[in-house]
């Protein structure tokens, strides 16, 4: 009895699979494009979401470590007023340190952060549009203590405004949790839709090839062999979508981080070069997984022996 005998396992021809896959994609035309478009949108949203959270986390981390309140003085302070304000601040309880920052120092810092484009050159001396400020570090970061200190600082004579990173950090954190939930739901729906569209596209291909599949089965093609062209089709859709999504995402991100839309207060954005590789790898991975799931799901009923 040779029941367990194995015929030689033939070679898989990638060329054959690719040809089958591209023929199907071409034949499905509109549906192929729709699949790519839907998956691509899904990936762009996913990418935006991940980048937003990554940036928030980075900034929240920085902020949380600071224990700092920035105090900005009136614009037209007389000579010597700054020292009085400083001593007033130092008298407050819960103040650990108070560092004076002159107009010139502020201008220097702005230049640094903007990469010195030269537009600040004529703002020196008399023309400096900035105000004197203090960086106040507090000792106790208990919420009510910080809140009290903020109120006391606002009440100091000559103080125009303060920016409390504490409040901002809290607000951003709450904001983050909120959008996490909304985005996760939104993403789930998008992925279900993408999968659905891909499955339908590949089902069309399977239907167009149903006679081929029958003949393949009669002449002894393995299920793997029958499935692979459709997996290739799904993967081509997935990879195309991920490449387009990556390009769009990278352009958007670079645009936002370089034009200063993202330069709100003390927020710093992660550099594009640091996120490029994980973003691209993530996209391609999600694209491939979606494509594979879509194609295997479409073929299930044809592969029962």
């Amino acid at each position: 009895m040779r029941n367990e005998k194995k015929a030689p396992r033939g070679r898989y021809s990638v060329r054959f699979f690719l040809k089958q896959a591209f023929t199907s994609l071409w034949r499905n035309g509109v549906m192929s494009v729709a699949s790519v478009a839907v998956l691509m949108s899904c990936l762009v949203v996913l990418g935006a979401f991940v980048l937003l959270v990554a940036n928030l986390n980075k900034n929240l981390d920085n902020i949380a470590k600071l224990n700092v309140i920035m105090v900005f003085c009136d614009y037209d302070l007389e000579e010597g007023r700054a020292e009085e304000i400083e001593s007033d601040i130092k008298k407050l309880s819960n103040v650990d340190k108070c560092v004076y920052i002159s107009k010139e120092e502020s201008l220097e810092k702005m230049k640094e952060e903007s990469g010195d484009s030269g537009i600040y050159d004529d703002m020196t001396g008399e023309n400096n549009p900035l105000c004197e400020s203090f960086e106040v570090t507090y000792a106790n970061d208990d919420e009510t203590e910080v809140f009290n200190l903020e109120a006391e600082l606002r009440a100091v004579e000559g103080v125009r405004k303060i920016t409390s990173v504490y409040q901002t950090a809290k607000t951003i954190d709450e904001f983050k949790n909120g959008i996490m939930l909304v985005f996760t739901l939104f993403l789930l729906i998008l992925f279900v839709v993408s999968l659905f569209v891909i499955i339908n596209t590949i089902k069309l291909s399977v239907y167009a090839r149903r006679h081929e599949i029958t003949v393949m089965r009669y002449v002894g093609a393995t299920n793997t062999f029958i499935t692979l062209p459709f997996v290739f089709e799904g993967v081509i859709i997935g990879v195309t979508a991920s490449i387009v999504a990556y390009v769009i995402e990278a352009l958007l991100y670079t645009y936002i981080s370089t034009t200063g839309i993202g330069d709100v207060a003390f927020v710093t954005m992660i550099e594009m070069s640091k996120i490029a590789v994980p973003l691209a790898a993530g996209f391609v991975l999600v694209g491939i997984i979606t494509g594979v799931i879509g194609s295997v799901a479409s073929l299930r009923k044809y592969l029962k022996s």
């Binding site: 029941n3 005998k5 070679r11 021809s13 006679h211 029958t214 003949v215 002449v219 002894g220 299920n223």
Partner: protein
């Protein structure tokens, strides 16, 4: 070798198509299977192809026990068989050459081998000159010969033909039958399901008559001789 032992087959809807079939076919034999419509002939072919599993009994073909075969071994078992259908099942958008080559491609045959073998097989079925024609440019008989070439492509031991002459005119039928005889002479086991009593009588081969899912007769030499 094909061995059916007390094979019964009922379809899920309750129809009993085969009701205790015993049949033994040795390597290199030529067998006609005849019977009225609904006698169970196609069901026997489906069991042979392992498209359907027997409800009870045992089927052993070329060393494969079809009652115990694992799903993943079925494709390899099927490479032992070549099948021809009444309706040819050729691909209209592929040439004759491509139709035959397809059967080899999908079992992973190297390209160089395909290039060598397809013309040789087409010569066996006398179609070497129609290699680049499309099926619709061929007569029914010629199309069935392409299907036969495809069945032979992976060098199977057994050829199964379910009503191979059902869709072609009598003169062409002789041609197909002669080819099947020739293939049998080349050492392959050939099983032909047919309605055509004239053909069966003309060739004087072993005839198995199915009736109501049972073998009514099994003899050599045609039906009415």
């Amino acid at each position: 070798m094909i061995d059916f032992r007390n094979v019964k087959k009922s379809y899920p809807n309750g129809t009993s198509a085969l009701d205790g079939v015993d049949l033994h076919v040795d390597d290199g034999e030529f067998v006609f299977i005849v019977g009225h419509s609904g006698a169970g002939k196609t069901t026997m072919m489906k069991l042979l192809l392992r498209e359907e599993a027997a409800t009870s009994g045992s089927i052993i073909v070329s060393g494969y026990n079809l009652t115990k075969i694992k799903n993943r071994d079925i494709p390899y078992y099927r490479r032992e068989l070549g099948v021809v259908f009444q309706d040819f099942r050729l691909f209209p958008t592929k040439t004759v050459y491509e139709n035959v080559a397809f059967a080899m491609q999908v079992v992973g045959t190297p390209r160089s081998m395909i290039k060598r073998r397809v013309p040789a097989i087409l010569t066996t079925v006398n179609l070497a000159d129609k290699m680049n024609a499309f099926p619709k440019e061929l007569s029914g008989g010629e199309q069935q010969r392409v299907a036969l070439a495809r069945a032979l492509a992976n060098n199977p031991k057994i050829i199964i033909a379910d009503e191979p002459t059902g869709n072609i005119d009598p003169r062409m039928s002789i041609e197909i039958m002669n080819l099947l005889m020739k293939i049998n002479k080349l050492g392959k086991t050939v099983i032909v399901v047919t309605h055509d009593k004239n053909l069966v009588d003309y060739y004087k081969q072993r005839v198995v008559i199915l009736d109501g899912g049972k073998i009514a007769e099994d003899r050599v030499g045609g039906m009415f001789s």
